[in-house]
Amino acid sequence: MEVKGKIYRVAGPVVTIAGIDTKMYDVVKVGHEGLMGEVIKIVGDKSVVQVYEETSGLKPGEPVENTGLPLSVELGPGLLESIYDGIQRPLGVLKEEMGNFIHRGVTADGLDHSKKWDFKACVSPGDSIKPGDMIGSVQETENILHKIFLPPNANEGKIKEIKSGSFTVVDIIGKMEDGTELKLSHKWPVRNPRPVKFKMAPKTPLVTGQRILDTMFPIAKGGTAAIPGPFGSGKTVTQQQLAKWSDANIVVYIGCGERGNEMAEVLNEFPELEDPQTGRPLMERTVLIANTSNMPVAAREASIYTGITIAEYYRDMGYDVALMADSTSRWAEAMREISSRLEEMPGEEGYPAYLSSRLAEFYERAGIVETFNDDVGSITVIGAVSPAGGDISEPVSQGTLRIVKVFWALDSSLSQKRHFPAINWLNSYSLYMDSLSPWYEENIAPDWNDLRGKSMEILQAESELLEIVQLVGSDALPDDQQVTLEVARMLREIYLQQNSFHPVDTYCSFDKQYKLLKGILRYNELAEAALESNVEVSDILHVSSKDELAKLKYEENFDSMIGPVMDQMEKEFSTLGGY
């Protein structure tokens, strides 16, 4: 039953309504145009609503309707390859209805209600099913089998009828004995996490093809990571690299309060890029949510929830989902903006006092789980943070770092030197290292963890040596330290630097990472041995094969070239030792 009330006050995106009963987070339609909004505060007989669309021209006295339902997304086949605004309106549909600019008052279904899907039932009439049990499937894209479940918010019972065939997402495909209609789609309130059987401990890495991430600071499937950094340090490029190359089955990319031109770039590129795992266009595994910085601020607040709910839905099918949120700071600022319009008592830097609990709730929706259908699925959440002035002592960075397990510290002094990805190897950390070690030993090489440890040791030593170099110059250092500096330089320039715009270097397989790292550290071993046999340090530093090694990462047939280069290195060193 819809009851009518009226507008009492309008102040920007915050509208006060009166004469209508509401529950917290009910979706209401405000004004003659029926602008969508959400109840965020109830005071006496008045309710305060954050409106997801532009409110200019809205007057006190205009009618208000309460739908009585919380903000929900429509879940079903057709989500993949979509691009949505913060409240799951497909931007393509909005363009058809309103042209190139987003005006207000247009509602659009999250899924295409006219497209037919081929549904194959996997249960029969008479079967007993519980919420979360699979009832059939749809081939959504070539590689994604979209499993259809009895929604987690339905009741368990027996199936009365069900049939395979060609259906739209709103057609009735069957019935339960209690009369519940079964469809290919259902709605889920975005602010409620979808239930799972239980959560598990993450044990496999999310392979990203980015050397510094995979080798030095890996993230586990089902883990959480934060990338804080000042502007221009490469947050967005890193997020996009992850969206492109990580070995997730599904990628949900949330452009939350960021640049429109960047979304245009993603939209341009993704359909043309190939998924390295399947060879299919990347777009086929991607859901994009674009609420750019000039789109309504309340919808920006909702976009994060819309994204994670879609991610949970695919996790429930047993897929590995990676969710990138760029940027969580804009989300926090949206909360701050709404909170200040509500005249709430501010916490630190004007952010609402509930900021850190909201951040925690969001990141807690990540994880690797066993679903009610006995599949294993995961959500890996990678959140960009844009700290004011690049100073991570601010509340959003701090609130995030308390929760996430991986910290990729972007550093503007690196990006100014065009060292990309500008992730500082001394400040970053990953708490998954221990739980992932067995996986590396089993799947890459038994000595992988040693190689990684050794290279971190060298980089650490370099940072200490550089302080001395600042005082006395590098020529004054003893020979072995000069070798350490050289190896550290190689690690930085050959290994840690990776050119995301280079067709070959943009993705580096684990096998290639291993060989490259092994090559650099082999140079270190040979150099140390040579020093012991009193070879001149300048000769060691001028071994030409190490320059060859430096250029190898750009070569398409790396595999066939690395062997000869390493052979040459051994040979060069053996001649050095010869006199």
Binding site: T16, L58, P60, G232, G257, G389, R418, S474
Partner: protein
């Protein structure tokens, strides 16, 4: 029937509070009639059954409770017309050049709607500004928003004017239309811009909005919106390529802070309102290119960093929205180098889309990366030299140090009227890279080095 209300209950700063009205729309445009007949204009900030809060653009001086308030029922609009070209207008769009009133072809809401990200085309048309530090290392493309971060006393105005004069897309004769919005700049600065526009004949393809330092601060808040609306009109209705210069964003933000405190809002960092990011995004995001539409809006906002501090909220929030920044350096300016652009903290995020084979030249990115790396290392070495002296440097370090000097002297430095083509810029780049042995050029492909590396060293 338009009603006049004489029910002003309170006047505070730029705000008036009106009681006992009929329902008034949020954001409505308002006329306020003073007893002496003058009319001021304003906008509804907050509306409810009990009270309506109006922000007065021209300031509230001279207002009293006897003034009458007229709500127009519409939001503030710009009278858009192709005849705006060549005109000089006030910060709120009134003719200021003694010319005839504007006959509108279309009334456009100045707040503009957000461009659907789905309709955006990826900006990738190289704009040649004739300035090496921009074209070569921080390339501007059509549809980009690339601010100049400067400080007081630095020649950002000269740089902006040089860009406006010289900007063109190579291979097309089309000139950019220029929309110039001045916010709170001094009369003298405004004069400087106007003189240059007139001297070079740029005025006839320009629209100028002037809000000067002694004009009301609140008017500053609508000036850039007026300007961008005019730019969108030219771009999307008349298929023109428009370059918008906004100066000075810092004054705009100060005005925002002033309004915020008048409204007794909870202040954010350094007293600036919490919605400053959203508000600035509402300006900057209006740059862009639309699929299937010929025109485009490119923005060059200028902002002076208070105390040269790039972490100050204004440059900080701007940097998070814009697609890079051009940083003007006091240090280079003191050395007498024009344009004193420090490339290290400067950045153009859309550069990669606009350069390379078929757009500029195949070696562009490699040359730029190599110069960046060399210059960054050279500057670090300067610090080292100050401590240990030049003698303690290795042979390689000495070469790099020399490269950094050459970079500033030959690549950065150029004349105020020197319009370098991209070919010129890359040639200068190769000449100075020629001072380094080939083996130092680790970021350039061997094939490209073989093709472009100069035969004789630069210092001929």
């Amino acid at each position: 029937m338009v009603k006049e209300y004489k029910t002003i209950n309170q006047i505070a700063g730029p705000l008036i509070f009106v009681e006992k009205t009929e329902p008034i729309g949020y954001g409505e445009f308002v006329h306020i009639k003073l007893p002496d007949g003058t009319v001021k204009r304003g906008e509804v900030l907050d509306t409810s059954d009990d009270i309506v809060v109006v922000q007065v653009y021209e300031g509230t001086s001279g207002l009293n409770k006897d003034c009458s308030v007229i709500f127009t029922g519409e939001t503030l609009k710009l009278p858009a017309s192709i005849d705006l070209l060549g005109r000089i207008l006030s910060g709120s769009g009134e003719p200021k050049d003694g010319g005839p009133p504007i006959v509108p072809e279309k009334m456009m809401d100045i707040h503009g709607a957000a461009m659907n990200p789905y309709s955006r085309d990826q900006p990738e048309d190289f704009i040649q500004t004739g300035i090496s530090t921009i074209d070569g290392t921080n390339t501007l493309v059509r549809g980009q928003k690339l601010p100049i971060f400067s400080g007081s006393g630095l020649p950002h105005n000269e740089i902006a004017l040089q860009i406006a004069r010289q900007a063109q897309v190579p291979g097309s004769d089309e000139k950019f239309a220029v929309v110039f919005a001045a916010m709170g700049i001094t009369n003298e600065e405004a004069q400087y811009f106007m003189d240059d526009f007139e001297k070079t004949g740029a005025l006839e393809r320009a629209i100028v909005f002037l809000n000067l330092a002694d004009d009301p601060a609140v008017e500053r808040l609508i000036t850039p919106k007026m300007a961008l609306t005019a730019a969108e009109y030219l771009a999307y209705e008349h298929n023109m390529h428009v370059l918008v210069i906004l100066t000075d964003i810092t004054n705009y933000c100060e005005a925002m802070r002033q309004m915020g405190s008048a409204r007794e809002e909870v202040p954010g960092r350094r007293g600036y309102p919490g919605y400053m990011y959203t508000d600035l995004a509402g300006l900057y995001e209006r740059a862009g290119v639309i699929k299937g539409v010929k025109g485009s809006v490119t923005q060059i906002p200028i902002l002076s960093m208070p105390g040269d501090d790039i972490t100050h909220p204004i440059p900080d929030l701007s940097g998070y929205i814009t697609e890079g920044q051009i940083v003007v350096s006091r240090e280079l300016h003191r050395k007498g180098i024009y344009p004193p652009i420090n490339v290290l903290p400067s950045l153009s995020r859309l550069m990669n889309a606009g350069i390379g084979k078929g757009k500029t030249r195949e070696d562009h990115k490699a040359v730029s990366d190599q110069m960046y790396a060399g210059y960054a290392e050279g500057r670090d070495l300067r610090g080292l030299v100050a401590i240990v002296g030049k003698e303690a440097l290795s042979e390689r370090d000495k070469k790099i140090l020399e490269f950094a000097d050459l970079f500033e002297d030959q690549f950065v430095r150029q004349g105020r009227n020197e319009n370098r083509t991209i070919e010129d810029t890359l040639t200068v780049g190769w000449n100075i890279l020629g001072s380094l042995p080939k083996s130092y050029l680790g970021r350039i492909d061997n094939k490209i080095i073989d093709k472009y590396y100069p035969d004789k060293p630069a210092e001929e």
